[in-house]
C-alpha cells in the first residue's frame, strides 16, 4: 500500500529528527556570530548599535581609528603573547614530568592542576585581588594581569600537552638512542617535533583564553584596560561599531591560525606514521596508525 504524502513527510521527519535538531543547534551557535558580522557594517544613528540602520564600510575603514580601543587591543595582544609564552613553557614541563615520570606527590600535582579549572572565575579573581591587596607589593596593572593570566592558562596547557604525550610512541625515542643520539639530541630531534602540534595547540588555547578573559582581569587590572575591559566599560555608553570590526578581524585571524595548526598536525602525523609500514612484518597489520 502506498503512503500518503503527509505520512511520508512525517516518516522522513521522524527518521531525520536527530539531524534536524543538530542543524538547529548549529544555527543557534552561529547566529550571534552572523549578527556580530552584519552589525559591523551597520551605520547606527545614535550611540547604540542595536538596530539596523543602513549599510556602511566606514567602520571597517576606521577599524583602528579609536585610540582607546586600539590601545586596549594592543595591551591585550601583548598580555596574551607574554602569558602564552610563559604558560606554555611552564605547562609543557609539568606535562612532561607527569607523563614521563613516576614520583612521590604525582597525585597531588594532578589535583593542583585540575582545581583551578573547577573554580569559577569570579572566585579566582576575587582571591587574587585579596592577595594583592593584603600583600601590597604588587601594584595592580599589567604585571598583576600577567600573573593572573599565566595562572589560569597553565592547567589548560598541561591537559592539552599531556594528552599528546600519552599517545606518544616511546619506541621512536629508543630507536634514536640506539642510533647513538644523546638524550638532548633525542629530545630535540624526535620528541619535540612529535609533540609540537600539542604544544602549538596548547599555546593557541592559552592565547584565546587570555585575550578573551574578562572576569579575572576585571578584578586585577587596576587602571590598565584590555580589549574585553574596554568593551565592558563602553557597554554603558554605547559600543562603537569598530568593536564589531575588530572582533571579526580577530575571528578570521583565529580561523587562519586553526587552519595552520591542523595542517601542522597532519604533517606530524604523517611523520609518525612512517612506522607502521616498517613494522608490518612484525605482526602488526599494515595501515594501522601508530596510537595517537
Amino acid at each position: 500500500m502506498r503512503e500518503s504524502g503527509g505520512a511520508r513527510a512525517w516518516r522522513w521527519l521522524r527518521e531525520h529528527a536527530v539531524v534536524i535538531a543538530a542543524g538547529l543547534v548549529v544555527l543557534y551557535l552561529l547566529i550571534p556570530i552572523a549578527v556580530i558580522f552584519f552589525f559591523s557594517f551597520n551605520d547606527p544613528q545614535g550611540r547604540y548599535n542595536f538596530t539596523w540602520q543602513g549599510f556602511t564600510l566606514e567602520h571597517w575603514g576606521n577599524a583602528f581609528g579609536i585610540e582607546e580601543l586600539t590601545d586596549a587591543l594592543l595591551t591585550s595582544l601583548k598580555l596574551a603573547v607574554l602569558a602564552t609564552v610563559i604558560a606554555t613553557i611552564v605547562g609543557t614541563l609539568m606535562a612532561l614530568a607527569l607523563v614521563r615520570h613516576n614520583f612521590f606527590g604525582r597525585r597531588l600535582a594532578n589535583f593542583l592542576i585540575v582545581i583551578p579549572m573547577a573554580t569559577p572565575e569570579v572566585v579566582m579573581g576575587a582571591a587574587l585581588l585579596s592577595f594583592f591587596l593584603i600583600l601590597g607589593t604588587f601594584s595592580l596593572g599589567f604585571q598583576t594581569l600577567l600573573i593572573a593570566h599565566v595562572m589560569f592558562c597553565i592547567s589548560f596547557v598541561v591537559v592539552v600537552v599531556r594528552s599528546r604525550l600519552i599517545g606518544f610512541d616511546r619506541n621512536l625515542e629508543e630507536a634514536a638512542r640506539d642510533l647513538g643520539a644523546t638524550s638532548l639530541q633525542t629530545f630535540r630531534l624526535v620528541t619535540l617535533p612529535l609533540i609540537l602540534p600539542g604544544i602549538f595547540g596548547a599555546a593557541m588555547l592559552s592565547f584565546a583564553l587570555s585575550i578573551d578573559d574578562f572576569v579575572i582581569s576585571n578584578f586585577n587590572s587596576g587602571t590598565t584596560v584590555t580589549f574585553p575591559l574596554y568593551i565592558f566599560g563602553a557597554a554603558q555608553r554605547g559600543i562603537p561599531v569598530e568593536v564589531n570590526v575588530i572582533a571579526m578581524i580577530l575571528f578570521f585571524f583565529t580561523v587562519a591560525a586553526m587552519g595552520f595548526a591542523t595542517w601542522q598536525q597532519r604533517r606530524a602525523e604523517k611523520m609518525a606514521s612512517v612506522r607502521p609500514e616498517q613494522e608490518a612484518g612484525a605482526g602488526m597489520p599494515a595501515g594501522v596508525p601508530a596510537a595517537t
Binding site: V19, L29, L98, A126, M151, F227
Partner: protein, 282 residues
C-alpha cells in the same frame, strides 16, 4: 639520585606559580572573610558574622544563581546531545565542518557574543517580535527577564557541553551498538541501554564544565538581565570593585566555592566518580 630530582625540577616553576597565585590567594581570601571593619582599618578577629550576613542578605541571589545555572545546564545538555551524536555518527565528511561550528563562538570575544544576544533580543528585533507573537514575551520584552539570562548562559557554555559528549560518543565501539541490534533491541532500546550509558562520562564532564562557570558568571546577568536577575557573581563583583566591602565579598566568594564543591561532590557521588577522574575532560 640526580634522575630522581628530574620530575621535581620540571614541575617546580608551574607548581610554584599555582601555589603562589592560586592556593595562597585562597588562603588570603579566607582570612579576609573573617576580618571586620572597613578598608584601611580591617582587623582579623574571626568575624564569622560575615558569613551569616552573606547568607541572610544574599540568599536570593545564591538560590537564583544555582537555579539559572541548573536550568542552563539542562538546556545545554538537551541541545548538545543531538549535535554531538550527529557529529559522531552521522556527519561523515561534514564532521570537521561541524566541529568547527561548535568552537567558532570561542573565536569571538565572550563579551561581544553576549552583546550580540542583547542585539538579538532587543525590544524591536525580529526574534523578540516572533516570541511576542507566540506569547512568550510578556509586554514585548525579552531582555531583563530570567529567560534572557538563562539563554545567554546556555549559549555561552554550550561548546563545553558538546565537546566532551562528542569525545565520549566518538570513542564508542560501533560493534557494541550493532550487537544490541542483532539481539533485537529497537533503536530506542539500543540507545538507552548501550549508547547513552557509554557516553555518560562525557555527559558528566560536560555538565560540570557548563554548570561551574555558569554559577559564577555575572556577564550574562549584567547585559541580558535586569535588577531582578542579579546573580551572586554580580554581588561579589560589586562588593569588591565598587563598594570595597572586602570582608563580605570574600565571605560570599568562599561560600560560593564551598557550595559548588558540595554540589559537585554530591553530583559525582550520584553520577559515578570514574566518569570524572578517569577522563581527561576535553
Amino acid at each position: 639520585m640526580k634522575r630522581r630530582a628530574v620530575p621535581y625540577l620540571l614541575l617546580l616553576p608551574g607548581t610554584a606559580w599555582l601555589l603562589l597565585f592560586f592556593v595562597v590567594p585562597l588562603y588570603y581570601m579566607a582570612e579576609l572573610s573573617l576580618n571586620s571593619g572597613v578598608v584601611g582599618e580591617l582587623e582579623f578577629n574571626w568575624n564569622w558574622d560575615n558569613y551569616n550576613e552573606a547568607l541572610s542578605l544574599y540568599d536570593t541571589q545564591f538560590i537564583r544563581s544555582f537555579v539559572y545555572a541548573g536550568v542552563a545546564t539542562v538546556a545545554a545538555l538537551l541541545l548538545a546531545y543531538p549535535l554531538a551524536y550527529t557529529i559522531a555518527f552521522k556527519a561523515g565528511k561534514w564532521r570537521n565542518a561541524l566541529l568547527f561550528a561548535v568552537v567558532a563562538p570561542f573565536f569571538t570575544t565572550y563579551l561581544i557574543r553576549t552583546l550580540a544576544w542583547e542585539t538579538i533580543l532587543f525590544d524591536e528585533s525580529p526574534v523578540t517580535e516572533i516570541l511576542d507573537a507566540l506569547g512568550l514575551a510578556p509586554e514585548g520584552h525579552v531582555l531583563a527577564t530570567s529567560g534572557a539570562v538563562i539563554a545567554g548562559l546556555t549559549y555561552n557554555f554550550l561548546p563545553f557541553m558538546i565537546l566532551p559528549i562528542y569525545a565520549s560518543l566518538e570513542r564508542i565501539d560501533v560493534r557494541l551498538i550493532e550487537a544490541s541490534k542483532d539481539l533485537y533491541a529497537s533503536a530506542a532500546q539500543s540507545f538507552v541501554r548501550v549508547t547513552l550509558p557509554l557516553s555518560a562520562p562525557g555527559v558528566v564532564a560536560g555538565t560540570l564544565l557548563t554548570f561551574i562557570p555558569a554559577v559564577g558568571d555575572y556577564v550574562n546577568a549584567q547585559f541580558l538581565g535586569g535588577v531582578g536577575n542579579r546573580m551572586i557573581g554580580n554581588v561579589i563583583q560589586s562588593l569588591y570593585l565598587t563598594q570595597s566591602n572586602y570582608p563580605a565579598a570574600a565571605a560570599l566568594s568562599f561560600l560560593l566555592m564551598a557550595l559548588i564543591m558540595v554540589a559537585v561532590f554530591v553530583y559525582i557521588r550520584f553520577a559515578g566518580s570514574e566518569a570524572l577522574m578517569g577522563e581527561e575532560a576535553v
